[in-house]
């Protein structure tokens, strides 16, 4: 079959690879009908999450049709139209049972690296390096879905492919940031990053009753899109001091909840970008935590900061003093998608949430390398490139 493969740092190509197969009795094979780029792929592409090998199939946010199931699958059958969570859960370990699916204790067949690096095992993720289990990604004609009864969700009738696609990753990630960040009616919420994830977090904050939501980015088209589709306020961080602006908009307090949806390749206009860029290149620091620092600084005393952006290792100049003295709560996680996807599907079916507008570029799988080129450099207003392997 055809698949989009990582070949080296900033190098992708479409290749013929062997078809996936059912390897465990609870697996299914899904024929991928749409699969989209995510900011996390950029960290893999750039070599910041280094456990990648030439020929690895990438992609993790997808929908499709079940075409084959193992003998122990009970909730799905061939023909089901499903959205699949990007994170693989077993559904029965203590973490899955407590709705912390990205901490699944049985879904990463090679837990050694994450265990060694972080002092704990985390879940397997599709198309996300050998540290996260070496599972093939979804930018392909077919994909194997382990523990499919827990990881695939039947799409409600009448919901379009492009609306449901983002229920795989961007929408539940954003929802998690707002909900576990503790957003409640009356809150002021700031979101760093207006990519797919940040926009979904901002929308979730509004749906959870936030009084005001303010989203931050530098790309005018992303800011305009966020203002229009999410309906929140925006700040262009290149034209102002974000912390001062947030203070001024919040009676001097700062936001109650800050959601960081930027990640380890954060940018800035100031000296920080140069400082962190050099340290990252020299591998003295693995991640650039520019937006995390700013969120901690801007957050109101006693407020909460949720890190949705992906980080891999160590960061420098972490404002621990501010965190401690201001009495902040800091949390982060890979998304616990299975916990939020059923609710999100309801909201999408009802029309409260219409994420399809994020799909700025719909392409064939052959156009994969071009899609990533546009997505990486945010060319032509690209927010999400969606590949249709069978189009």
């Amino acid at each position: 079959m055809k698949a989009l493969c990582w070949q080296g740092v900033n190098e992708l190509s479409v290749e013929q690879v062997p078809d996936p197969a059912i390897l465990n009795a609870q697996d299914a094979i899904v024929k991928v009908t749409a699969s989209t780029t995510c900011g996390s792929d950029l960290h893999l592409l750039g070599g910041y999450i280094p456990a990648m090998r030439a020929g690895d199939v990438i992609g993790h946010e997808f929908i499709g049709e079940i075409v084959d199931v193992g003998p122990e699958v009970s909730r799905h059958r061939p023909g089901d139209r499903v959205v699949v969570c990007s994170i693989i859960g077993c559904g029965r370990c203590w973490s899955c049972r407590h709705d912390q699916w990205s901490l699944c204790e049985n879904s990463n067949p090679s837990p050694g690296i994450t265990d060694l690096m972080w002092g704990g095992t985390t879940a397997g993720i599709f198309g996300y390096s050998h540290a996260m289990g070496g599972f093939r990604g979804s930018h392909a004609e077919y994909i194997r879905v382990p523990f499919v009864d827990y990881n695939a969700f039947t799409v409600p009738e009448g919901v379009s492919d492009l609306d449901v696609l983002f229920a795989s990753d961007a929408a539940p990630t954003g929802w998690m940031g707002a909900e576990l960040g503790g957003v409640k009616p009356g809150d002021v919420v700031a979101v760093w990053g207006c990519g797919g994830v940040g926009q979904m977090a901002a929308r979730a904050a509004m749906l959870l009753g936030a009084d005001r939501v303010i989203a931050i980015d530098r790309y005018p088209e992303r800011l305009a899109m966020t203002a229009r589709h999410v309906g929140c306020e925006v700040i262009d961080y290149t034209s102002t001091d974000v912390t001062a602006e947030l203070r001024e908009r919040t009676g001097g307090r700062g936001p109650d909840v800050c959601v960081e949806a930027v990640g380890m390749e954060a940018d800035s206009t100031g000296i920080q970008r140069v400082y962190d860029g050099i340290k990252q290149q020299l591998r003295l620091e693995q991640d650039r935590p520019i937006a995390v620092r700013e969120a901690i600084r801007a957050c109101r005393t006693g407020g909460s900061v949720f890190v949705l952006g992906v980080f891999a290792g160590f960061v420098d100049k972490f404002p621990l003093g501010a965190l401690m003295n201001k009495g902040l709560t800091l949390r982060g996680a890979q998304q616990h998608g299975q916990r939020f996807i059923p609710k999100l599907l309801d909201r999408i079916a009802k029309g409260d949430l219409k994420p399809s507008y994020l799909a700025t570029h719909v392409m064939t799988l052959d156009e994969g390398p071009k899609g990533y080129e546009m997505f990486k450099h945010k060319k032509d207003g690209c927010v999400r490139a969606v590949f249709r392997p069978w189009a």
Binding site: A3, C5, G8, V9, E11, E15, V17, P18, P20, A21, L23, N24, A25, Q26, G47, P50, A51, M52, R53, A54, G55, D56, V57, E72, C90, G91, R92, C93, W94, R97, E105, N106, S107, P109, S110, P111, G112, I113, D115, L116, M117, G119, G120, T121, G124, H130, A131, G133, G134, F135, R136, R144, P146, F147, R283, Q286, A312, G313, F314
Partner: protein, 157 residues
């Protein structure tokens, strides 16, 4: 020339994994564990003790290990804590050589504990897609193999 540069970049990326995995060691104060070779390896299984060892019989594949095993109910709603360690302890050069040969008994027990847990909780042990590989052999791939191979031995469990 372009190839060479790309090759060098790829190799650097491969080495990056080893460095990434090793960077944990850079944390100040990380002393080598004096009890490393004799500690109990513990895992918590989300099942009550009578399901983990019905009638006192050890579950597979743990039962096949040449290991001392003990277990107790875990605190709260967490199930059962299962501990194991090799009966024969190796130390020094002997331990290093065994590890290089891929015969470190602690590694085998670690794997057996993980598989036992997964079988009891899910009825299966998840296999990786790596079995039907799409990757091609490269230098950084070899370095990565070494890093991944070594990493499986370490970690918390």
């Amino acid at each position: 020339m372009k190839r060479l540069v790309a090759g060098a970049a790829a190799l650097a990326a491969g080495l990056g994994v080893a460095r990434w995995a090793a960077s944990r060691g850079r944390m100040p104060g990380a002393v080598k564990d004096p009890l490393e070779s004799s500690r109990w390896l513990g895992i918590t299984i989300n099942r009550p003790p009578d399901e983990v060892a019905p009638g006192g019989r050890l579950p597979e594949p743990l039962s096949r290990m040449d290991a001392e095993v003990r277990m107790n109910r875990a605190p709260g709603d967490r199930g059962t804590e299962v501990y194991a360690r090799p009966r024969a302890q190796r130390a020094g050069a002997d331990a290093v050589l065994a590890r290089l040969r891929g015969e470190d008994p602690r590694t085998e027990i670690r794997t057996a504990l993980r598989e036992t847990k997964s079988l009891l909780e899910t009825g299966d042990v998840l296999r990786s897609d790596e079995e039907i590989g799409t990757t091609r052999p490269t230098m950084p791939g070899k370095v990565l193999d070494m890093a991944l191979g070594r990493a499986a031995e370490g970690g918390r469990l």
